[in-house]
Amino acid sequence: MAQQIESPEDRARTWPRWLRDLVADWASDQQTFKVNWGKAMMWIFLISDMFVFGSFLSAYAAARLSATLPWPDPAKVFALHIGEAEVPLLLIAIMTFVLISSSGTMAIAVKYGYERNRAKAALFLTLTALLGLTFVGMQAFEWTKLIHEGFRPWTNPMGAPQFGSSFFMITGFHGLHVTAGVIYLATVASQVLRGAYEKTGYQRVEIAGLYWHFVDLVWVFIFAFFYLF
């Protein structure tokens, strides 16, 4: 008489493993994210930040498409003169390589952190911060050069006035993130040296790394869509 009723759990047993895991993690009375809270919070912040930069880049696309004057050619605007030759986008290319390298050193810092190699973790964190500082320095140089050439958020000598507002807004906000990141990394580096994470574990270094890699990630899209398009 007691007919076997198929429970949801029984049914779920026939599902592929990835689907079972996914549904179980999002089901009630569960902790969805099985990572430490700091990491989950950093990810939530980064997702919101993705929307900020996504909106900026969308606004840039709209401004560029609606501009009736020709859009200034970034290859010419950001060219550097080396002797006689004019090399397009040279500074931007160097900035890109500097930021990518800083991401590489950051990843290595996280690795040494988890290996509890404090000296090396702090060394690579400091290296990352210095590369970040180099990046900001080159950006300051670029801004100075452009401002001297008459570029303003509302006008510029090379075409559509919307170029300036997009450029200063997007690179300015990104530069602000790099600057904040340098301070953040310097703080984490000194914490590592002090041994502040010996008890709590080195997730803090990885979380700082998430932020730093995100700043690099945003630059990938700025480099592609603002400078190279």
Binding site: F97, G209, A224
Partner: protein
């Protein structure tokens, strides 16, 4: 590794990704440097290289490849909405261009 939430990977992984990022950046720079024609091909290549770079950074440097699927989906799905926003405002940008052309001339 699962219960501590720590990420342990050989340093080789990071160095290879680093090298690939250098290569992809150099290639997208060269697309611009040599002025690849037609423009649509250049745009396609630059976008493709950017997406590959983003994928490498997110997967390996940010360890998303090694996270649980529930976190991966929570991270990767919401930003797709940005694509919808971009599509809308690009249509709007084209419209504003037409209106300006009609009422203000060039």
């Amino acid at each position: 590794m699962e219960h501590t939430g720590e990420q342990h990977h050989p340093i080789r992984v990071y160095l290879v990704v680093w090298g690939l990022l250098f290569l992809l950046s150099a290639m997208s720079y060269l697309v611009d440097y040599f002025g690849v024609h037609p423009k649509e091909l250049a745009w396609f290549l630059i976008t493709a290289f950017a997406l590959l770079k983003a994928g490498l950074i997110v997967s390996y440097f940010m360890h998303v490849r090694f996270e649980r699927l529930s976190l991966v989906y929570a991270i990767l799905l919401p930003p797709l909405l940005i694509l919808a926003l971009t599509a809308f405002v690009m249509a709007e940008g084209g419209y504003v261009f037409d209106v300006r052309a009609i009422f203000f001339g060039r």
